[in-house]
Symmetry: C2
Subunit: 219 residues, 2 copies
């Protein structure tokens, strides 16, 4: 399999999201032009992105929605479920725990950890929030593959180091800090403050009469 760039993977996610909407409408085939329009890219880009994975679609007829959904799910690793732990039971942690899209896509949060004695022992759905002293043992014994870090910035690197030592392979980081991780670990950052600053940059630079590099279609 060829190396696929991160922006391409991001577009594959967007195609999948649009295809699921189409399936619900219900629509059974879609052209590269229509898929491009809904995602905010070009038909040529759609065809190029999907060409990485073999031939989908029929000339003049478009892509079969159900087939393309199945293929994208396989490519993105969504045809299986992933064991996920959440570290940080604050407001962001609670929002992520209740985020239906994670569960729907096979990301099953099966453990929640915090250091706050008031939070430890709380029941979140069928889970009990556990103390961070149980972190390494739980990660190892429960086969956790992905950890969501939702702790304050100043605590994030220490949590990361512990998670790395426990052999976790993927981290989704919500702390506004640049984590240092080994090469073999997959790390994604969700930085809401940075996105907000991208907005204020765009608005302020327009106000100054400058052009902006803000990309309306960014994800």
């Amino acid at each position: 399999m060829k190396r696929i760039s991160e922006p391409t993977v991001g577009r594959l996610s967007m195609y999948l999201r649009v295809l699921r909407q189409l399936e619900r409408e219900p629509v059974s085939t879609v052209s590269s032009e229509e898929l491009a329009r809904r995602v905010g890219t070009t038909a040529a880009q759609v065809r190029k992105d999907l060409s990485f994975f073999g031939t989908f679609g029929t000339r003049g007829r478009g892509y079969d929605v159900a087939d393309l959904i199945a293929a994208l799910r396989r490519i993105l690793g969504l045809e299986r479920s992933w064991g996920v732990a959440l570290v940080g039971a604050g407001k962001i942690g609670a929002a992520l725990f209740g985020y239906r899209d994670f569960e729907r896509q096979g990301f099953h949060i099966q453990s929640v950890f915090d250091i706050d004695p008031h939070k430890i022992g709380q029941h979140w759905g069928e889970l009990r929030v556990r103390g961070d002293d149980e972190l390494e043992d739980a990660l190892l014994s429960e086969g956790i593959e992905i950890v969501i870090i939702a702790v304050p910035a100043e605590a994030a690197q220490a949590v990361t180091d512990r998670v790395v030592r426990a052999g976790v392979r993927g981290i989704l980081n919500f702390a506004p800090v640049n984590l240092e991780v080994p090469d073999w670990l997959a790390l994604k950052n969700v930085n809401m403050a940075m996105e907000m600053e991208g907005l204020s940059y765009a608005l302020a630079s327009r106000g100054r009469g400058g052009r902006t590099g803000a990309d309306k279609r960014s994800a």
Copy 2:
């Protein structure tokens, strides 16, 4: 002012974050090498990014931390405060409302809207959650410049259309959907599910023996 690419703006945000950490340590000057190391890029990239905005730093001595913070705040539009409204008082909305980094950076959430009768009238801090029938009037009369959209995917485009008609210039979108907006509007998307799919892609493709395009330093 030259056009600045979106990745550059993102790195400026990261430099600012690291510089604030340095200021707290406290450190008063920093080299491009050290700044690069903490952000996860190269010294050449740091120098190139900062060269857009004139000359900072002294050869052989590095950048003055306080001066560079002031310059980045000005560039990113953070030396003023922004009027922000939040549409969607669910779990994600509540987490964003409590997100201290927004307030700290001048993004002041001054109105919250929802359509749920059980949420309308709730007190969030000093605010009262209002019904969406008040949305347009409030946006216009309160000088709201940025709207955070934290509603379900199926409701997001309709909210966007209303916000656009009310003249709002910037949207931070948390709904997992590609919004259609006019060219003059600045839009940023925070798509947690997409980041998670980037992780599962990276893990699954490694498991398949393929290389991965996941970028550890992505933000």
